[in-house]
Structure formats: structure tokens, C-alpha cells
């Protein structure tokens, strides 16, 4: 497949609901799923005379996030009214931030463990706070439209994170979103639940084409209604192809037509033109006179800084550096979240074998978690027990062949390693015992000895079954190694 004759230019706007107990400008609960219009008050329903008061905690969460995105934090930020009419916007304006956002000029680093694209820095133009709107529910009953409004969500704090158009493929866009979501999860500032609308993505996309050695840009299209990261990837792929077709047909360049908004239809797998919002072009922003500007002090910045903790990118390089796991493994572990990383670190410490700890977690722990749908905090095998299991296998106390059995015994019975071994009748085989057994077997099978001496090491395999018959606790690998060692000692 040849490369397409264009480059895709992608910028993303992500709206994240911040995990506050109460709304941005009133004390109503932000809990999802309550009966319609039960979490409202005069402020968030925009009743005459009601006034907004900023929720300090929302601002603090935004500050931590902005710092994690390497943003500059201006010392002075203010609130603006973005004005438009819609029934889910009861005041006729949204309180947002226009020309002095609370943070700007940051970046997020993305890379692909499978090296499908070069690691890069996606610049963050700005991240600003605003209040969410309510939800409109449209019923079409017998041709008569009926709309109902739920204002529970109105006023929930949103952080809008706007990237520069730095992504060059749907894959990079997906990587950016995955990394951003991971970062937000590590910070604990949002639950990032796309189904509940805690994380929403809009994309701006156009193409760069080479026309007689000159770069030509096609009109920018905004895509909405993408309800999963997978949908984002598919919508962008579709949209790039569609824009190329339009280019071939019309030759329209950036600036030739007004910016278009298209919605992604996940069932039909197409983007569809949306009716342009009435008078959407002029929001008549102006500073909200009901709110005072926010000043940021050194102390507040220091507190935000101290709450950052170790972020995914730093954690990946530390795992590689201190535990010598591969970049790929570090990525898998870190992407599972902070708790899995903590689990790994403890298992690696106890076992003194980080590589094996990583393998066990990726192969056995994560699979078990997936199958049972539990999270690692509730998992039957704690990190210390896994570490001990690995250590005992390495020491030959537990045959490697029975490790998985012991693991599942611990998991199901939520037992300690010793209890699991006892249940399974596994006792350690010390090296004296093992050598004696191997000597006995070699004496009985001179043919094997001569085969090995003639270069056929695989002949030892036939002894392993006999060894297990005489003592089921022996480790097959150790039997093989011990036999080979003994044969070499004899021959010299």
C-alpha cells in the first residue's frame, strides 16, 4: 500500500469534567445519574438575581492539570461570558475564559512502543476552565418534536484542553488521547468516563497537499460526536479520505469556504455535515462582571507542584532505568495505572527479579484481572506474595512448572504462599537431594550419558519424567541442568 498523497493535520479539543464534589459556581452536587433537574439551584438554573461564586477546588484541580501539561500559569486570570442562545444554557451565556486563560503554552509527549511513529511533543495551546451546559433530550413522537432539558450537568467544571495542530495521523491522535487520559487518571483530577461524558473530544482536521512543489492546505473541518478513542481514530481516517475526495473534486483550499462542522456517525462510519449553529460566529465575549479575577500566588503554585507526584512519562523511564525492564514493558505497566506500577515495584523488590515480576504481571496478573473484572487493589495475590513466589521458583524451592498452579491457588483461596504450597503438597527439594536423585538416574541410564557426551543434550529429556515420578516436587529445568553438569564433571 503506497502512502497517501497528502499529510493529515490534526488538532484536538478535549473537554474534561473535573472530579469535584460540587459545581463550578454553586454548591450543587456533580454526581452523575440523578433524576433530571434534581441537582439544581437558582445559580445553575440561571434564575434572575442569582450570582456565581467560584469553586476554589475546581481551580486547584485545573492548576495541577495545567502544570502536568507543562503549561505556563499566568498570575492573573479572569472569567468571560460566551454568549449564545440554547435551551440547555439557562443564562444565555456560558462562563468561560477567553483572552486570559488560566494556563497556556504547554505540551504532552507521545510515543508508540511499537514504533509506528516517531516520539513527539504535541503542543498544548491552552487549557481553560468553563462551566458545562445541561443536556437536551429530543423526542420525536408522531412527527411532533418534543424537547426536554436536564440541568443537572449545568455548571459542572470543565477543563478545555486545546492542542496545537501537531498530530499527523489518526494513530498519533489516539496516542495523544490515551496519554492525556492516563495523565488525568494519574492526577486523579477526572474519572475520564467517556460514556458519562466526563471526557469529550472534538477534532479539527485538514490536509496538506503538495501541488507543484507548493504546500496547499484544504479547509479545516471540525468533527464532533466521537464517543470513544476508537471512534476518533476511525472518524479521522474517514475524514482524511473524504477531504481528499472533495479536494480532487472541487480544489477548495483553506479560506475558500467557512469552517464546517461534521458529526461522526459510528454506525454508518461516516461524518455528516451538521446544521451550522444560529449566529455561532459571534459569541460577544466580555469579562463576567459577577466574578472577580483570580490571582495565583507562589504558595498555590507550590501546592499544585507538590500534588503532581510521579507522572507517566517519568515513571516509564524510571522503570527502565531502575528495574531494567524494556521500553515496551514499562509502557504496558505504566499504562495500567498507578496501582499496577506500585504492585510491580513491590513484587520486583521482594523477588529481586524485576524482569520476571514484569512478565508475571503482564501474562498472569493482568489476564486474571481482565477475566474477573476486578482491580488490582482487590486481587487475591498481593504483590508481596507474587514476589515470594518468583523468589522461591528462582531458588528452586518451587518447580517452575508448578508456578502457575501455585499462583492460581493463592488467587482463589486468597492464601499465603506457604498455605498454597501446603495445599498443593509442594515441598522444597534441596540441592543435595536433587544431586543424589540425578546421580541415581544417570547410573541407571548410561545410554543417556553417552548420547550427551556425543553432543545430543536433548537426550537428558527422557530422565525428567523419571525424576518427577520419583519426586513430583523437582523442577524439570533444574533436573536437566543438574544432569548435564554431572555428566560434564564425570567426563573431565
Amino acid at each position: 500500500m503506497s502512502a497517501p498523497p497528502y499529510q493529515i493535520i490534526i488538532g484536538l479539543e478535549v473537554h474534561v469534567q473535573l472530579a469535584t464534589q460540587t459545581k463550578l459556581f454553586c454548591r450543587c452536587s456533580t454526581q452523575f445519574g440523578a433524576p433530571p433537574n434534581t441537582q439544581t439551584c437558582p445559580v445553575c438554573t440561571g434564575l434572575p438575581g442569582a450570582l456565581p461564586v467560584m469553586n476554589r477546588h475546581a481551580y486547584e484541580l485545573a492548576l495541577v492539570t495545567a502544570r502536568a501539561l507543562n503549561c505556563e500559569i499566568p498570575r492573573y486570570t479572569k472569567w468571560d461570558r460566551k454568549q449564545y442562545y440554547y435551551p440547555d444554557l439557562p443564562k444565555g451565556y456560558q462562563i468561560s475564559q477567553y483572552d486570559l486563560p488560566m494556563s497556556q503554552h504547554g505540551y504532552l509527549e507521545i510515543s508508540d512502543p511499537q514504533d509506528r511513529f516517531e516520539p513527539k511533543r504535541v503542543r498544548v495551546l491552552r487549557a481553560h476552565l468553563e462551566e458545562d451546559a445541561g443536556k437536551s433530550m429530543h423526542d420525536e413522537v408522531a412527527g411532533r418534536a418534543d424537547s426536554r432539558i436536564d440541568l443537572n450537568r449545568t455548571g459542572t467544571p470543565l477543563l478545555e484542553i486545546v492542542s496545537e495542530p501537531d498530530m499527523r495521523s489518526p494513530l498519533e491522535a489516539k496516542a495523544y488521547l490515551t496519554e492525556l487520559k492516563l495523565l488525568l487518571t494519574y492526577l486523579g483530577v477526572s474519572d475520564c468516563n467517556m460514556q458519562e461524558g466526563s471526557l469529550r473530544v472534538d477534532a479539527n482536521v485538514n490536509l496538506w497537499l503538495d501541488v507543484d512543489g507548493e504546500r496547499v492546505a484544504t479547509p479545516i473541518v471540525e468533527i464532533k460526536n466521537m464517543n470513544s478513542f476508537r471512534a476518533v481514530e476511525r472518524a479521522l481516517t474517514y475524514e482524511a479520505e473524504r477531504q481528499f475526495d472533495v479536494w480532487e473534486e472541487t480544489g477548495q483550499r483553506l479560506g475558500d469556504v467557512p469552517k464546517q462542522t461534521r458529526g461522526w456517525d459510528d454506525n454508518a462510519c461516516v461524518t455528516k455535515a451538521q446544521r451550522s449553529k444560529e449566529e455561532s460566529s459571534d459569541y460577544r465575549y466580555f469579562p463576567d462582571p459577577d466574578l472577580v479575577p483570580v490571582m495565583v500566588t507562589d504558595d498555590q503554585l507550590a501546592v499544585a507542584e507538590s500534588q503532581l507526584g510521579e507522572l507517566p512519562a517519568a515513571l516509564r523511564s524510571r522503570l527502565q532505568r531502575e528495574y531494567e525492564v524494556s521500553a515496551y514493558d514499562a509502557d504496558v505497566l505504566v499504562n495500567q495505572g498507578r496501582a499496577v506500577v506500585d504492585y510491580f515495584v513491590e513484587a520486583a523488590r521482594v523477588s529481586r527479579d524485576p524482569k520476571k515480576a514484569s512478565n508475571w504481571i503482564q501474562r498472569d496478573v493482568l489476564r486474571a484481572l481482565n477475566e474477573s473484572g476486578t482491580n488490582i487493589e482487590d486481587f487475591g495475590v498481593c504483590a508481596r506474595n507474587l514476589g515470594e513466589l518468583i523468589e522461591q521458583i528462582n531458588d528452586g524451592q518451587i518447580p517452575g512448572s508448578r508456578g502457575v498452579e501455585v499462583f492460581h491457588q493463592m488467587r482463589e483461596a486468597r492464601s499465603t504462599l506457604a498455605e498454597a504450597m501446603e495445599t498443593l503438597g509442594i515441598t522444597g527439594v534441596d540441592s543435595g537431594e536433587l544431586i543424589a536423585l540425578c546421580q541415581e538416574l544417570l547410573a541407571k541410564n548410561p545410554r543417556v550419558v553417552s548420547d550427551v557426551l556425543n553432543g545430543k543434550e536433548a537426550a537428558v529429556g527422557s530422565l525428567i519424567g523419571q525424576a518427577k515420578k520419583s519426586n513430583p516436587n523437582v523442577d524439570p529445568a533444574l533436573v536437566r541442568q543438574t544432569c548435564l553438569d554431572l555428566i560434564r564433571q564425570q567426563s573431565t
Binding site: P42, G46, L47, P48, G49, V53, P90, D282, D290, V292
Partner: protein, 513 residues
Amino acid sequence: MTLIQMTATELKAAIEQGQTSCVEITRAYLDEIGRVDARVNAYLWKGGQSALDAAQAVDERRTRGQDVGLLAGLPVAIKDLLCTRGLRTTCASRMLAEFVPPYDATVVQRIAQADGVLLGKTNLDEFAMGGSTENSAFGVTRNPWDLDRVAGGSSGGAAACVAASTAPLSIGTDTGGSIRQPAAFCGVSGLKPTYGRVSRYGLVAFASSLDQIGPLGWSVADLALLLEAIAGHDAADATSADVPVPAYTRTVNESLKGLKLGVPREHFDDGLDPAVAKLVQAAIDVYRQQGAEIREISLPHSRYAIAAYYIIAPSEASSNLARYDGAHYGYRTDEVKMMEEWESERKALEKAGDDAGLNALDSPLVRMYRRSRAEGFGAEVKRRIMLGTYALSAGYYDAYYLKALKVRRLIRDDYDRAFQEVDFIVGPVTPSPAFAVGAMIDDPLSLYLQDLFTVSANLAGIASLAIPCGLTEQGLPVGLQLQAPPFQEERLLRAGHMYQVETDWHRQRPQLP
């Protein structure tokens, strides 16, 4: 002297000395309302039995020896721009004719906590936009001194009810002079406190950065009483100031020594009615006789105040009034009729094959917005919404709104400089006394110029007091304005009281047969 001829301060003393009761006082005012308000039209809602019940409750508490709040059971009238729980709050607009708020404004709460009795809700220009109360959807309020003249506005009802002896105390709001101008027209005292001194929570916003709630009454001592009850920080209003509230009532009688008063030369230009100029000069002389030093000062940017005000206030108003869209509460156009019309228009276009017309046809939602707002708002409100929408539009913002904000800064700087030289600034409240009903109805610009001396205080956010200083030959009241630096209400009220000790203009009452 009858009860309704006494000042609030005197009534409070009489109650406390057992000479009268809250019920007697409330009944006296309700009777007077019944006698004269049909002619004055100060009230949109009258308390009646609910006021008597509230008064009775205070009397009973006093009889039992329990503590009674600062307002001691005195009746208070409240401008119908402040939300009252369970009671219609109309803003004198058809838009909110049936609106019943589920909550009380902070000031309403504080009055109740101080044992004030809600006597009624007073008329105003629709959404406080106007200077004559002629823009009310519920009829004009008339000046008790001359029923053919306006009471001023927008707090016309709030001033007229005091002048007509139908309330001892009254709450108004002032965005560009809306307490002071009607106080001057009606011969009563009124105070616009410093921006942030009184919580705006529950005050239906006109221009949020300029609006301020304040008291009206006969005497400055009465204003001190009501201000003390309502002032102070409110966590529900981010713009309310966390500045301690002095006990205004305790110090209002103490005169100020070595007073320096500034007279802005810009306030005595050609535009000033000679009769007003004469009475204001006489009032300044009263201060001079009390030992005050009088200095001429200049507020050079005051000539731009009206222009800046009529950019900033409508801009904020256009945004604040966007919520009245018929979607959630308030007036909504007749949708059945609207949809019938819409359907027939659509069908006609379809039949004619007019695709462009079909494309241009508004959606039912947009039509509902347009109709509801067109039918719900009065002309002056629409005029200001249009002005403000225009000023905030892309491409005009810098030339209008931003420039007006710069002028606002310069006006504040003028005051800062002036207050380094003098304690207070003294001058007229309005260029002329109350005008005839209907005289300016087709001339909004002349009406806007009525705010010439008052808007600067709102733009600068400072405190400003209006007190009566005489009657013209036609028997119309004239007001004196005293302006003070921010949060100097305590000294401002003392200065106002000094004048009222020497004069009795504040005790003059119109005769309403």
C-alpha cells in the same frame, strides 16, 4: 404628629418607649397606602395582612421581653427588582409578570433578620432601565409633590412611597443614579453605597458592575438605620466586599470637624437649572457656616461619563437579560398560535417552490425566542439590549466597550485625585427638578442626560448621598449630592446629618388630599 409623619428613627424610639406598636404603625401605613396609592402608584404589591402578621409577631416578641432586631418591626418597602421567596418579583416587566422566585435576596433576608416588616414591593422602570418610572409595564409612578410629574427613576416607587408617607423606609437600587435622582425629585434622602458594600445576591441584574442596593428614607439617620441592617460581606456575592460594617446609627449624630468640601466646576455648567443652582449653593453655605472649607475642584473626565455609562450598562444588560428567552420561566409567546403561523408559512413556501425562503425560515425554537422577547420586553429595554449587543459585537468591542472601560478608569482616577484634597464632593443631584409625565417619552437622549451628575459615582464605585435641600418656586424638591471615597459611608452619613440638623427640608411633606 401622626405616626406616618414621623421619621423611622423617631418611630423606632416610640416603639421602644412603649408609645406605639409595630401593628399600629403598619396599619397606619397600610391605611395611607389605601388612601393615596391609587393616585401615586408607588406599589406593585401591597403587604396587607401578611405585613400585619409580621408586625404582630415582632410585638409579641417584644412583649415577652425577647430581643428584637435593629429595624424593630418597622415597615420597609422593597423595590420589585429584589427577589422575594414565594412572592411575585416582576421587575416591572411583562416578561416576569408571573415570576415567583424560590428564594429571597440577601438584602430581603437581612431585613427580615433585623425584624423589618415587608410592607410592599415598589414600582420601577422595567428592569431598572430609565429615569422616570414611565417604563414600567404596570403604569407610571407619580410624584407626590405634583401628580402630573414623574417621581424619577428607576427607583421611582421607592422614592415616591416615602414622599407620600406610605412607607417610612424603602429599598432602592442605583445603577446610574436610580436611587439619588428619584430621591431628589421626591424630596427624600437616598444613599447609593460603595460598590460591594451591600450584597447583590437576589437583585435582578441590570448592569452587574454598576448596580448597588441602597436605602431611602426621610432623614439621613433613617438611612443609617437601614444601611446598618443590610450592609456587609456575603459569601454568595463574589463582588461583595469583606469590609467591616460600622454601627452607623451610633455615630450618625456626631458632626465632623474641619470638613473640606469640593465643588466640581463641571457640575455648575450651563446645563444646570438656575433654580437648582441657587438651592444647592445655599446648601453649601450651610456647611460653610458650620466651619467647612469649600474648595472648587475639577473632575475633568466627568463629561465623558454619560457616554461611557451608556456603553457599559447596556453591554452588561444585553448579557444579563439574555436569560429571559421564554424557555425556562417567565413570559412565553402563545406557541399554538405561533406554530400555526409557522406551519402555514412553511407550506406556502413549499407550494411556491421557494427553496431560498425555506432555507431562511427560522426554526420554531428561534421564533419562540424572538416572539417571547419581542412581546415580553418594553421599548427602552429593547433599545438597551440592542445598544449593548452592538457594542459587544466582533469588530466593535475595542472601539466601544474597551474604550468605555478606559474612560471608567480615568473617571475613577479623577475621584482619587479629588479625594486627596477634599473629604467629600458636593453638588446637585440632577440638572433640573422633576419633569412632567410624558415630557421626555420621545427623547431618550435628554432623559439619559438627567444622569449627568450621578453616573460617575457608579462608574467609580464610590458612595454617594442625595438629600433634599429646598423647594423651587413651583414647590418642587431639589436634591443635594454628597460623594465620598469608597467605604466612607459612616463619615458620609454624619456629613449629611450635619445638614439636616441645621435645616428641615427633609421634614417637608407634600399634601395629598
